[in-house]
C-alpha cells in the first residue's frame, strides 16, 4: 500500500469530563473518498476541527503527506493542502464568485490585485474538475447548489489536495446531490482525497470507498463500502440493531381541521408564502418536503401563530385562525418549532416552567395571576416521566438538557393536555437510545376514551433535526400515535426520508409555493426532487 496522504494517530480531545475523540487513528489514501459516519455528537465535527486547526488535540499526531502538521493552526492546514467545505457556507453574498475565491488567498500588502491571473486560474480549476461557474456572478444570486460549488472551488483554488466536506448534501435536492457525487468522482480520479462527513447511510455507501464509523467519540468500525450493508452501518452507528420507522398508513381520515386558501405572507425575503392552499384533515399526516428557506418557516410560523397572512384565508375548525400562540394553544394546536434552543424553550428558565409555559394562564396552573406551583410542577414531573426527559430534574435550567431531551420536553408540553387519558397509554414507551420494537399503530395508539385531550392539530417543523436515531424514532412514533388518535398532523422537514416515511400525503415547497398534496405513493424520490428544484410534475423537465 502506498504511503497515506493523511495519517491521524491516537487523536484524543476532551472537553471537561466529555471525551469527544478517544484515541482515533485513521489513514487516508490518495484518490480515496473516506466517509466519516456517526450520529450527532459522535465526534465527527470535533475530529475535522482538529484536523483543520480549529481545535488543538490533547493527544495524538497528524501527518499530511508525511510531514507532521502543527496543531491549532488553520493556516498551516491550508498550506499543507487541506481544504474544508463547511455545512454553513462562508461566502460573502454581495461579492462576486471571483472575489469570494480570491478573498483571503491574496497577500494583504501588494499594490495591485492580480484579478486577471486569478480569473484564469479559477477557470482552469473549474474546467479541470468539471465545476462550471460564472466568475462575475454575485454569490447572493446563486442557488444553494451553486454556492456549494463556489465553496469547493475556493478550496481547490488554494491548492487543496485533501478536501473535507461537512454534511454537504444537507442543503441539496436529490438531483443536486447526484451532481455533487459525480464531481467528487472526477476529483478523486485526478488524485485528490476526500473526507465526506454524513449521518445518512445511503449516500455514504453511494459515494465513498471506505467508511469509518464514530460512536461516542470512539472509532468503532472501519470497512470498505463495497460489501457493507446499511443495516450493518446503522448497527455500528447506534450500537445495536435498528430499523427505520416503517410507514403506517392512516386508516381513515376525517374532517378538515385546518384549511389554507391562497395564503400569502409579506416580507421575510425568500422565506414567504406565495398563494399556498392546503387542507389538513383529522387522522392524517401531511408532510412538506423542500430545500430549507423556500417558505417552510413562514408556513410553520403561520400555523404556530407567530406570523399573520397578508392575503388569503386560514380556517381552523370553521373559524378564522388567529395569529396568536395563546389562542392556538387553547384551541388544541400542538406546536413543535424548528429551532428548539432559540424558540422552543427559554433556556434560562427551569424545566418545569418551560413545561407549563404555554398553559400558564389556564385555571389549572394559575389563579388570579398567582402561579399554582404545586399543580405546575406536578404537570412538569408527569411530562418528564412519561416522555422520559433525562439529564435534569424539573428544577434545573432547560438549557442543560441535550437536544433530544429538550425535544421530548417540547413534545410533551405540546401533546400532554390537562386531561390525563391520552397519557395513560404512553407510559410504556422506551427511553431515548433504546431499541424500538416495531409494532403496528395499535400498540402505540393512545386510548381514544371520551374526554381524552388529543390535539386537534399538530404542527411539527423539523421535529427530528439533529436528534440521534433513538430519539428520531421516538418523536416519529409520537406523531404517528397522535395521528391515529385523530389529530391532523403537519410535518415540515428537510429530510426527504422522513417526509416519505411519515407522510400520508406529501407536498413539496419551492419559492413560497406548494404543490398539491398527493398521496405518498404518488411520489417517487425523483419526482419529489424535481419539485424541490421548482420543476412541476407533468411539465417536461
Amino acid at each position: 500500500m502506498p504511503d497515506p496522504v493523511l495519517k491521524l494517530t491516537g487523536i484524543t480531545k476532551r472537553f471537561g469530563a466529555l471525551v469527544a475523540n478517544d484515541a482515533i487513528s485513521l489513514q487516508l489514501q490518495a484518490g480515496e473518498v473516506l466517509a466519516l459516519l456517526g450520529e450527532n455528537g459522535a465526534g465527527k465535527s470535533t475530529l475535522v476541527s482538529i484536523l483543520f486547526g480549529h481545535y488543538t488535540a490533547d493527544e495524538g499526531q497528524i501527518e499530511v503527506f508525511g510531514q507532521p502538521l502543527p496543531p491549532g493552526n488553520p493556516r498551516a492546514a491550508l498550506a499543507a493542502g487541506i481544504g474544508m467545505v463547511h455545512q454553513h457556507f462562508t461566502l460573502a453574498d454581495n461579492l462576486s464568485v471571483l472575489d469570494n475565491v480570491m478573498l483571503g488567498s491574496e497577500p494583504l500588502w501588494q499594490p495591485f490585485s492580480r484579478r486577471s491571473a486569478a480569473r484564469e486560474k479559477l477557470l482552469g480549476v473549474a474546467q479541470r474538475f468539471g465545476l462550471p461557474v460564472a466568475p462575475d456572478a454575485k454569490v447572493g444570486s446563486l442557488s444553494v447548489g451553486e454556492r456549494q460549488r463556489v465553496e469547493i472551488l475556493k478550496a481547490l483554488y488554494r491548492g487543496a489536495r485533501i478536501l473535507i466536506l461537512d454534511e454537504p448534501t444537507a442543503v441539496l435536492t436529490p438531483q443536486e446531490s447526484e451532481a455533487l457525487f459525480d464531481t467528487l468522482g472526477q476529483m478523486v480520479a485526478q488524485g485528490l482525497s476526500i473526507i465526506f462527513i454524513s449521518h445518512k447511510l445511503g449516500e455514504v455507501l453511494r459515494v465513498s470507498h471506505r467508511i469509518a464509523v464514530l460512536r461516542g467519540g470512539k472509532l468503532v468500525a472501519e470497512a470498505p463500502a463495497a460489501g457493507t450493508s446499511q443495516a450493518q452501518l446503522a448497527q455500528w452507528m447506534v450500537g445495536h440493531a435498528v430499523s427505520a420507522t416503517q410507514r403506517h398508513p392512516a386508516r381513515a381520515t376525517g374532517m378538515p381541521v385546518c384549511t389554507l386558501d391562497a395564503v400569502c405572507t409579506a416580507g421575510g425575503g425568500r422565506d414567504r408564502l406565495d398563494g399556498v392552499s392546503l387542507a389538513l384533515k383529522a387522522g392524517e399526516i401531511v408532510a412538506i418536503a423542500g430545500v430549507s428557506g423556500n417558505g417552510q418557516l413562514a408556513l410553520a410560523d403561520l400555523l404556530c401563530g407567530t406570523r399573520a397572512a397578508s392575503r388569503g384565508t386560514v380556517t381552523f375548525l370553521g373559524q378564522p385562525l388567529q395569529a396568536s400562540p395563546a389562542w392556538l394553544v387553547t384551541q388544541g394546536v400542538a406546536r413543535i418549532p424548528e429551532d428548539r434552543h432559540a424558540v422552543g424553550v427559554v433556556g434560562d428558565l427551569s424545566v418545569w416552567e418551560n413545561a407549563v409555559s404555554e398553559r400558564l394562564r389556564s385555571p389549572a396552573f394559575s389563579r388570579a395571576l398567582w402561579v399554582r406551583r404545586g399543580a405546575a410542577q406536578a404537570h412538569a414531573a408527569r411530562i418528564v416521566r412519561e416522555f422520559d426527559v433525562r439529564g435534569g430534574g424539573p428544577q434545573s435550567a432547560a438549557r442543560s438538557l441535550s437536544g433530544g431531551n429538550m425535544q421530548k420536553l417540547i413534545l410533551g408540553r405540546a401533546l400532554v393536555n390537562v386531561a390525563p387519558t391520552l397519557v395513560a397509554s404512553r407510559t410504556s414507551l422506551p427511553p431515548e437510545g433504546a431499541n424500538f420494537p416495531r409494532g403496528g399503530p395499535s400498540e402505540n395508539c393512545p386510548s381514544s376514551a371520551p374526554g381524552a385531550a388529543v390535539p386537534k392539530l399538530i404542527v411539527a417543523h423539523q421535529p427530528t433535526w439533529g436528534l440521534d436515531i433513538g430519539a428520531v424514532a421516538y418523536v416519529q412514533q409520537q406523531l404517528i400515535a397522535a395521528r391515529d388518535a385523530g389529530a391532523a398532523v403537519l410535518v415540515i422537514s428537510d429530510d426527504l426520508d422522513e417526509v416519505l416515511a411519515l407522510g400520508d400525503r406529501v407536498a413539496v415547497m419551492h419559492a413560497g409555493q406548494l404543490t398539491e398534496a398527493l398521496p405518498a405513493d404518488a411520489w417517487t424520490r425523483e419526482s419529489v426532487g424535481l419539485a424541490m428544484a421548482g420543476v412541476h410534475a407533468g411539465e417536461p423537465a
Binding site: 472537553f15 471537561g16 469530563a17 466529555l18 480549529h54 481545535y55 488543538t56 491549532g72 404556530c304 401563530g305 407567530t306 396568536s324 400562540p325 395563546a326 394553544v329 406546536r335 418549532p337 432559540a342 424558540v343 422552543g344 424553550v345 427559554v346 433556556g347 434560562d348 428558565l349 416552567e353 418551560n354 409555559s357 404555554e358 400558564l360 394562564r361 394559575s366 395571576l369 398567582w370 402561579v371 406551583r373
Partner: protein, 356 residues
C-alpha cells in the same frame, strides 16, 4: 487563555465567589489608599466605622440606602426583562416634582382632601410620573426597535433641564431667597422618623415592602414569569404565548414607577422640597446595585446597604485621613466588576491554550 463552560458548579464556589470578590476589591482599593499616603488599616477601619460603626453611622447609611433600594429595584425589574432603563435618575426627579405638585402646590389647603387621600395621591402621582417617563422609550423599543439605552439616558438630561425650569418658574419657592428650590410639602405629608435624633424615616419600610413584593411578583406570579421569559428569550416567550409587548409596557410602568417613588420618598422623608442636587446620581447607582444583587430584589436590599455604607463611611473617613471620597466610587465600581467576574468564574473555568 480561554474560557470553558463548567459542567457543574460546586456549592463552595458559590459561597467563595462573593468573598473573593470583596477581598479583591479591598486589595485594589488598598493600593490606592497607600498611594494616597494614608495608613491602610486606619483608613479601612474609619471607613467601616463611618458607615456601620455607630447608631448614628448606621442610621445615615440606612437613610442613604432608601432611595438606592428603590432605584435598584427599578433597574432590577427592567433589566430582568432586558429593558435597559438608564433613565431612573430622570424618573426619580419626575416623581419628586409630581409629589411636590400634589403635596405642596395647593396653597396650604391640601385641596381640602383628607390627609390619607392626599398622601396616596402624592405617591400615585409620583409613581405615574416616573412610569410615564419610561413608557415612551419602552413603546419606541417594542414597536420600532429604538434603542432604549439611548432614549432613557438622554431623557435624564431633558428631565434635569425641565426640573431647572420648574424650580425657577411655576414651582419656585418664593421664600427661598432666590435659591432654585421648589415649594415644600405641607408638614403633615412628611414621613415620620423611625428613630428619634436620626434622619432615618419610614421610607425604609416602604422600600423593604416593595422589595419583598417585587420578589414575590417575579417568583410566584404569571406576570413575573412573563417578565423573566421575555428577558431570557423574547422569541421563545412569544412562541409560548407570552404577550411580549404588553409585558414590556408593564415592566416600564413598574420600573419607572419605582424610580418615581424613590423621588417622592426622598422629598417626603428627607428634603421636603425639590432641588437640582437632591440626587447625587441615585438613578445610576441603582444600576450598579441591581447588578451587584444579580437582579434579585431581596439582594438589592443588601447591595444598597453595602453601597450606602461605603458612600457614607468614605465621607467621614476622608475628613480624618485625607483620602479623597472618590475612594468610595472606586470601591463600589471595583466590587461590581469583581462580583461580575467571580460570578462568571462560577460558571466557566480558565483553560490555558489556544481556542477550543
Amino acid at each position: 487563555m480561554r474560557l470553558e463552560k463548567r459542567t457543574q458548579t460546586s456549592k463552595l464556589a458559590l459561597v467563595l465567589a462573593p468573598i473573593g470578590a470583596i477581598a479583591f476589591t479591598l486589595v485594589i482599593s488598598g493600593l490606592l489608599v497607600i498611594w494616597a499616603g494614608a495608613p491602610l488599616g486606619q483608613t479601612y477601619s474609619l471607613l467601616f466605622k463611618g458607615g456601620f460603626g455607630s447608631v448614628f453611622a448606621l442610621s445615615e447609611t440606612l437613610t442613604r440606602a432608601i432611595p438606592l433600594i428603590l432605584t435598584g429595584l427599578a433597574a432590577t425589574v427592567a433589566f430582568k426583562a432586558r429593558l435597559f432603563n438608564i433613565g431612573a435618575e430622570g424618573q426619580l426627579y419626575a416623581g419628586a416634582l409630581a409629589a411636590v405638585a400634589v403635596g405642596g402646590m395647593h396653597g396650604g389647603t391640601g385641596f381640602d382632601l383628607p390627609l390619607w387621600l392626599l398622601f396616596g395621591l402624592m405617591m400615585l402621582a409620583a409613581a405615574l410620573a416616573g412610569a410615564l417617563l419610561l413608557l415612551g422609550p419602552a413603546l419606541l423599543k417594542a414597536r420600532l426597535g429604538v434603542d432604549e439605552v439611548v432614549t432613557t439616558l438622554l431623557l435624564n438630561f431633558i428631565m434635569l433641564l425641565f426640573v431647572s425650569m420648574m424650580l425657577n418658574g411655576p414651582m419656585k419657592d418664593p421664600t427661598a431667597m432666590g435659591w432654585p428650590q421648589s415649594v415644600a410639602l405641607i408638614g403633615d405629608l412628611e414621613l415620620s422618623k423611625l428613630v428619634a435624633q436620626t434622619r432615618i424615616h419610614t421610607g425604609l419600610l416602604w422600600a423593604i415592602t416593595l422589595a419583598v413584593a417585587l420578589w414575590a411578583l417575579m417568583k410566584y406570579t404569571v406576570p413575573g414569569f412573563d417578565i423573566r421569559a421575555t428577558g431570557a428569550n423574547a422569541k421563545a416567550a412569544a412562541f409560548a404565548g407570552v404577550p411580549v409587548t404588553r409585558t414590556v409596557v408593564l415592566v416600564a410602568l413598574l420600573s419607572g414607577g419605582l424610580a418615581g417613588l424613590a423621588g417622592a420618598i426622598e422629598v417626603a422623608g428627607r428634603t421636603s422640597y425639590v432641588t437640582l442636587d437632591m440626587s447625587p446620581g441615585y438613578g445610576y447607582t441603582g444600576i450598579v446595585i441591581a447588578m451587584l444583587a444579580a437582579l434579585n430584589p431581596l439582594g438589592v436590599l443588601a447591595a444598597a446597604v453595602f453601597v450606602a455604607g461605603v458612600l457614607v463611611g468614605a465621607d467621614s473617613m476622608s475628613r480624618a485621613v485625607g483620602v479623597p471620597t472618590y475612594i468610595a466610587d472606586v470601591i463600589v465600581a471595583t466590587s461590581l466588576i469583581s462580583v461580575l467576574v467571580a460570578t462568571l468564574m462560577t460558571q466557566y473555568r480558565v483553560v490555558r491554550g489556544l481556542r477550543s
